[in-house]
């Protein structure tokens, strides 16, 4: 079984807080893997470390067999590893469509010289990107919102927009930070079906999630973190009956 992401003894300290401590696990290519743990367990920090927004103090991160722990965030993104943010960071003053059109790499129109040359090439490029963006928006169910300012979307729709922005880049691995937090139950059903569709199209998903129903239904494998370390890993059923996990969630009170 091929591992798309391997995290080997990664540590990161912030001042006096050891946020991530020799964390070690891997994610199988083509899987949906859940990452759970109590608040402050270091899950979001781990995402930042993997995606290059924060440098690890020590340890290795391999994506598709290549070391990425020393690359910067934009380089990692270009390799096909994309992340969403826990609190959606939509570009409020832009339309939903513009939020997606930002994404495609190596746009000719993104260079200064394109401005001085005849517009044909840029228009052609925009037409292709526009088609793709429309397709992605249809897929996540935001097709009708294309021309809306992103600021006017609901909380759940903003989560979908974050997803759509990642999909624009044809990622290999998506890190989703609490995709259903603050989303109403109806939209959660919709979000889950979108995630299944994304997975079916060949994208590996690593999901931080507190909603256990989502984890149970979606994930084939769950990794549990506490105090910066992996304390358990297994199928959802195994995790549910794991005593250490229960202790971690209940604040370490021993029975």
């Amino acid at each position: 079984m091929k591992q798309i992401l391997e995290i080997k003894d990664v540590s990161r300290r912030f001042g006096g807080l050891q946020a991530v401590n020799k964390c070690r696990f891997s994610v199988r290519a083509g899987s949906i893997t859940g990452l759970v743990g109590p608040n402050g367990a270091g899950k979001s920090t781990l995402f930042s470390l993997v995606s290059g927004f924060v440098r690890p103090d020590s340890g290795e991160v391999l994506f598709d067999g290549n070391h990425i722990e020393k690359l910067s965030a934009h380089e990692i993104a270009r390799l096909g590893l994309r992340r969403t943010f826990q609190i959606p960071r939509e570009l409020k003053q832009m339309t939903v469509l513009e939020n997606l059109l930002l994404v495609p790499e190596r746009q000719f129109g993104d260079q200064v010289r394109s401005v001085l040359l005849p517009g044909k090439r840029v228009h052609e490029e925009e037409r292709i990107n526009l088609q793709k963006a429309q397709g992605v928006l249809e897929m996540v169910g935001l097709g009708e919102k294309a021309q809306h300012p992103a600021a006017l979307l609901s909380g759940g729709q903003k989560k979908l927009l974050e997803l759509a922005r990642c999909l624009m880049a044809d990622p290999k691995l998506l890190l989703l930070d609490e995709p259903t937090a603050g989303v109403n139950p109806t939209l959660i059903r919709h979000l889950m079906s979108v995630l299944r569709r994304i997975h079916a199209s060949g994208v590996t998903l690593l999901i931080i999630e507190h909603n256990m129903t989502v984890i149970m239904e979606l994930c084939e494998r769950v990794i549990v973190m506490d105090r910066g370390q992996v304390i358990a890993a297994g199928t959802p059923a195994e995790i549910q009956s794991n005593k250490e996990v229960l202790d971690a969630y209940l604040g370490g009170v021993s029975a």
């Binding site: 927004f53 993104a77 570009l91 790499e105 993104d110 200064v112 394109s114 401005v115 001085l116």
Partner: protein, 288 residues
């Protein structure tokens, strides 16, 4: 009277370049620059020295524009992670630094005496020097306007706006935010330098005291009135500011109860008050 009108239009055009430049940096990309006059000065001096050395008009303008752009890129590259407030201090400080260098280095640019006898481009046949200069300025400004308008509407403008809103998002989609910020600063500074070249050519004499902070404030006010973002609004508001301030410059022929220094001081007080008023309207409580 028509001469006054032409003069006001030319000044409006010159400041138009500088304001369009600031609009790319601040309006579009969200990078505050309180020292736009530094690049204006680099352009003016480069043009003045080159064209006095016999370099043809267009070539001297091109070199002046490019060199200012290089200075802009350098400032952006040295300040990659500066917060808004620090960038404000550094850019304002940089502009005063440039002025001090011009003031002190006699060998370079004549020190406090400045540079005199800067030539204008040849006049069109049958037209006066002033009218010809207005036409040349208008043509160059039309080009600058076309350029900035395209920047706004092209994918590159979208990326710059995205940086203004949230730099982290731009990084997360795999783009190098610093590269775009540098480009924005380069382009904005280059446009200021272009304005500087026309300024030197029009006045035929430049000295360091013309490059004080009031020029930066001038264009800050114009870009603010234009609500930071649109080239059209920026140009219109620059024309408005120029009409008010350059227009009052001409009052000295009619007003006899204040002398030249007092009138100049009054005009700059009006500029300061105008900036205060604009900021208070633009950022009044309850406005998003």
């Amino acid at each position: 009277m028509i001469d006054y009108l032409i003069a006001i239009l030319i000044f409006a055009g010159i400041y138009g370049f500088v304001a369009l430049g600031l609009n790319i940096q601040w309006g579009l990309t969200g990078l505050i620059n309180l020292g736009q006059v530094a690049f204006f000065a680099v352009g003016a001096y480069t043009f003045a020295l080159l064209s006095k050395a016999g370099v043809p008009f267009l070539l001297a303008v091109a070199v002046a524009t490019t060199l200012s752009g290089v200075f802009g890129a350098a400032v952006a590259m040295f300040t990659p992670r500066l917060r808004e407030d620090y960038l404000a201090i550094v850019t304002l400080g940089f502009s005063e630094f440039v002025r001090l260098v011009l003031l002190n280095e006699k060998w370079l640019a004549g020190g406090p005496d400045g540079v005199a006898g800067v030539p204008r481009p040849a006049s069109f046949p049958g037209l006066g020097s002033e009218t010809s200069f207005l036409i040349v300025t208008a043509l160059a400004l039309a080009f600058a306007f076309w350029f900035t308008r395209r920047i706004e509407r092209y994918p590159i403008g979208r990326t710059l706006k995205a940086i203004r809103e949230d730099e982290g998002v731009v990084t997360s989609v795999g783009k190098v935010a610093l590269a775009y910020k540098t480009k924005a600063f380069l382009l904005g500074a280059a446009l200021a330098g272009l304005g500087g070249a026309f300024f030197a050519s029009y006045l035929s004499y430049i000295s360091p005291d013309m490059f004080g902070p009031n020029v930066s404030i001038y264009v800050l006010a114009a870009v603010l009135i234009g609500a930071q973002g649109s080239s059209v609004a920026t140009l219109l508001s620059t024309a408005l500011v120029a009409a008010l301030l350059e227009g009052t410059r001409l009052l000295k022929d009619y007003i006899t109860f204040v002398d030249g220094v007092e009138l100049a001081a009054l005009r700059l007080m009006v500029l300061g008050l105008a900036l205060i008023a604009i900021v208070m309207v633009r950022y009044r409580p309850g406005r998003p």
